[in-house]
Amino acid sequence: MAIQKILLAYNFTSLDQKAIDFVTSAFSHIEGVEITIFHAFTPVPEIDTEASLVTGKLKGSLSYLSQQIMQRENDLKSVTEKLALNGFPADRIHTVFRPRKKDIASEIINLTRETKFDAVVINRKAARITRFFSGSVSSKVVMTLKDTTVCIVS
């Protein structure tokens, strides 16, 4: 099956840059291929800011935090520009920037199923102790997705 739709999970790290380079070299020359760059952000926690004095004080700070998170959406757009500069046709690059409700692996799996991506590109940092605590995103994606090519950049 020819790969036509690719999902690139992106988290603004140097390894993500490696993933961008991989996607460009491996897929940009394939006619008709489309890429979606996906970032799931942790939304600011829901707090009733009218409930008490302390939550009222948090109101201004929380809206500032929301602005900082939304700044990331613009950062994601600059990634699409970088891909276009590297030779990927601009009209075949899309972005998905949405709040995460579950663990990051589930977000990737759900989006892949919803949008029927043929391939998923994720990165994996070697020997991470944090994987021990929060689970391995790449392992869960590989174990769960069927009929989808999963590329791991490490």
Partner: protein
């Protein structure tokens, strides 16, 4: 900044309720860093997990700091505010006046004025660190440092809980992968 107490029971309630909204450690830890930055009006906050093999601190959640600062290089427990890993909370009220930082120039370039580092302890062992970064010189009160220690202990509990949960999930995936042919004659 004076040593005014900023963490009280109302703030504790807000923080604990917010982090209890999710059973995912990443979301919990990210909410905690966001809320501490908002409530204490500081520059940033990071939760590190300690890799006992490499003695490296790995970023579990962070808010308010640039990616270039977070990726400045390996953060080693023996070089970066090392007292934290002896179980002691450490206050660096002025980063221009300390030899306890591994990357002092990067801290200054990031616009960090002061750092508070609190150990995350579980079952008597340091499993990570909670670090708070202020733009300016910071004179945090002793009571606020104590409150941060309590918060850090709860992060330790959450980390341990999710570690066990992940181990169980891995076992479940492995069991699901066993083809029924291997179970013939076993029942």
């Amino acid at each position: 900044m004076s040593a005014q107490e900023k963490i009280d029971i109302d703030l504790f309630k807000v923080v604990f309720r917010a982090i209890a909204q999710s059973d995912d450690l990443d979301i919990m830890a990210n909410h905690l860093t966001q809320l501490l930055v908002a409530a204490l009006e500081i520059k940033g906050c990071t939760i590190f997990a300690l890799n006992p093999e490499s003695n490296e601190l790995e970023n579990l959640a962070s808010f308010g700091l640039s990616m270039s600062y977070l990726e400045k290089g390996p953060v080693l427990s023996g070089k970066s505010i090392s007292d934290t890993f002896k179980g002691k909370p450490t206050v660096i009220p002025d980063v221009n006046n300390t030899d306890r930082l591994q990357y002092p120039q990067d801290a200054r370039a990031e616009g960090i004025g002061a750092i508070v580092s609190v150990p995350i302890i579980f079952y008597g062992r340091v499993v990570g660190a909670l670090r708070l970064y202020h733009n300016d010189v910071w004179d945090i009160s002793e009571r606020d440092v104590d409150s941060l220690l309590v918060l850090a202990e709860n992060i330790g509990l959450a980390m341990t809980y999710t570690r066990i949960l992940n181990a169980l999930k891995t076992i479940r995936y492995t069991v699901d992968d066993i083809h029924s042919i291997w179970l013939l004659g076993q029942e």
